[in-house]
């Protein structure tokens, strides 16, 4: 330890004093997420509007936390819900059990279930943390508590994140993008 080092160290801290803080003031400013962030699940649709999910329950089988419950039903040929023979009549994920590992996404033969970006799911009731189809289809913006609040205040849902780009698996999913390529 020398006097020189002491003086230099003062210079280093002074340089940091005038640099921009790295803190993200989170609830005020969105968090920058990576495009492959594992957040709330999204049930995607084909471009023609049909659901990709065919109710095969492979996701439920692959789930290490037993968080997924699928109840399939036969498609009405006249008015199909999904592109396959069957569709998921009930598709529920217990967000309290889910560990956001993404194995469901890997197991899915049609790419129907994809992990999205929403993470602000804190809620008051256990039952409110079981997300159904109506909470996870691509057109849904935000999580349950966010949508509840939006309904009360009348303001649109404000997601707490930005991503550089939305990864292609999340077909049709709208997310706030900023920076990054593509």
């Amino acid at each position: 330890m020398t006097l020189k080092a002491l003086a230099q160290s003062l210079g280093i801290t002074l340089k940091y004093l005038f640099s921009k803080p790295v803190t993200i003031p989170y609830p005020d400013a969105p968090v920058a997420l990576k495009p492959r962030f594992h957040g709330r699940h999204v049930l995607t649709r084909h471009p023609n509007g049909l659901e990709k999910c065919i109710g095969c329950s492979l996701c439920a089988a692959a789930c290490p936390a037993y968080a997924i419950y699928v109840e399939p039903a036969e498609n009405d040929p006249e008015n199909p819900v999904s592109a396959g023979e069957r569709y998921a009549k009930v598709y529920e994920i217990n967000m309290l059990r889910c560990i956001f590992c993404g194995l469901c996404e890997e197991a899915c033969p049609t790419g129907a279930i994809v992990l999205g970006y929403d993470f602000e799911m804190a809620d008051y009731e256990y039952s409110d943390l079981i997300y159904g189809k109506e909470d996870m289809l691509v057109d849904v913006v935000g999580t349950k508590p966010q949508r509840r609040e939006a309904k009360i205040t009348g303001k649109p849902v404000k997601p707490g994140y930005v991503v550089p780009y939305v990864r292609p698996e999340l077909e049709g999913f709208k997310a706030p993008t900023k920076g990054g390529k593509k």
């Binding site: 006097l3 020189k4 003086a7 003062l10 280093i12 940091y16 803080p21 803190t23």
Partner: protein
């Protein structure tokens, strides 16, 4: 014939109140400023949630510390336990009044100081040294051996640095020939700042002042990362806040005393505005001390004492003897200017000279 006119008593009382209120407000906001600055030094934002820019944080802190449970330990000496923080804060507040903030009559026709004592400097030291009683009694009255050990550590380091501090101050006092703070400032107005005449004394005093205020390189009394609390382990709530207050007021007083003694006080060679320069100088030293806290490490306890007794004290003594020699033989005072310059160059040289640290033993 007193060159410094006296104020009526009601004015003195009013100014004393102003100093107390001002110091307590300054303490509250210094905690905020220090936290914000430290945060920026560490590329963080710091407290910014309470009010705009976090400006109401001190108020929130005050409310919190007042309403927390105020514990008095079962085995504590009840009277002294309560008295100790009060002693600390009262004597810390007393010290500030002697510091002049401007020329006579610049405070709405009254004097910009509360006390003008011929032994001003001595008074200042006598009073700020009483803080050690606060610390020591706090440790003793807590009825806990850890508090006692903490208070012993604190008092030992404070007393060790007190010697260097006093010795460093002797040379300017000898040069000016007065202990009156106004005389010191006026002398500097005539002859130039004392830092030019006593650069080593200034440096030593600044270092010792850090130790006196228990600031970072010497903040062993309550080494936050290492100790539970030192002498105030058993204290909580507002009593604990009073210790913090004491420390901050010492810090502010030290930052006001260094410019008064060595940097011309409220004077400035150009653009004389009463108060402005004094406040700027105080702010500069407050910033400097926070900057040091953000940068440097804490000395180990033996290093702290060795530095105090083995370096600070002898160097201060040597400089005092040199000044005494110049004054006693009535040599031209410019000798001291050259010697100060030499000391400054020696410091610069020491900064340039940086040998590779010698590795002792088989340390990794």
């Amino acid at each position: 014939m007193n060159p410094y006119p006296l104020d009526p008593y009601w004015m003195v009382a009013l100014k004393a109140l102003l100093v107390v209120v001002g110091l307590l407000t300054a303490f509250a906001f210094m905690t905020l400023i220090e936290r914000r600055l430290l945060a920026r030094f560490q590329i963080r934002l710091g407290p910014n949630r309470v009010g705009p820019l976090g400006l109401f944080q001190p108020i929130a802190d005050a409310i919190k510390s007042i309403f927390k449970e105020d514990l008095v330990v079962e085995r504590a000496d009840k009277v002294l336990f309560v008295l100790a923080p009060l002693i600390g804060v009262v004597f810390a507040l007393l010290a500030f009044g002697a510091i002049p903030f401007g020329p006579p009559g610049s405070f709405f026709g009254y004097q910009p100081w509360v006390l003008n004592l011929d032994l001003g400097l001595l008074y200042l030291f006598a009073v700020s040294e009483m803080a050690i009683y606060g610390i020591f009694l706090a440790g003793w009255a807590s009825g806990s051996k850890y508090s006692l050990l903490g208070s012993l550590r604190s008092s030992a380091s404070l007393i060790s640095y007190e010697l260097g501090l006093g010795m460093a101050l002797l040379s300017p006092v000898l040069l000016v020939g007065s202990l009156n703070l106004n005389d010191l400032v006026n002398w500097q107005k005539e002859h130039g700042w004392l830092i030019l005449y006593a650069f080593p004394a200034f440096l030593l005093y600044a270092i010792a002042a850090l130790a006196e205020a228990a600031r970072t390189p010497f903040d062993l009394p309550e080494a936050e990362q290492e100790l539970v609390g030192g002498y105030h382990t058993e204290y909580s709530s507002i009593k604990w806040a009073l210790f913090q207050m004491t420390e901050y007021i010492h810090f502010i007083t030290a930052s006001a005393l260094i410019p008064t003694l060595f940097l011309g006080g409220w004077t400035m060679p150009f653009l004389e505005v009463p108060y402005l320069w004094m406040f700027l100088k105080i702010a500069f030293f407050l910033f400097l001390f926070i900057w040091i806290r953000a940068t440097w490490f804490r000395l180990r306890y033996d290093q702290l004492l060795r530095f105090g007794w083995g370096f600070l004290f002898p160097v201060a003594l040597v400089w005092f003897l040199v000044t005494a020699l110049v004054v006693a033989l009535d040599l031209p005072r410019s000798y001291l200017l050259y010697l100060s310059l030499a000391a400054f160059l020696a410091l610069l040289g020491a900064m340039m000279y940086s040998p590779k640290p010698a590795r002792k033993g088989g340390g990794a």
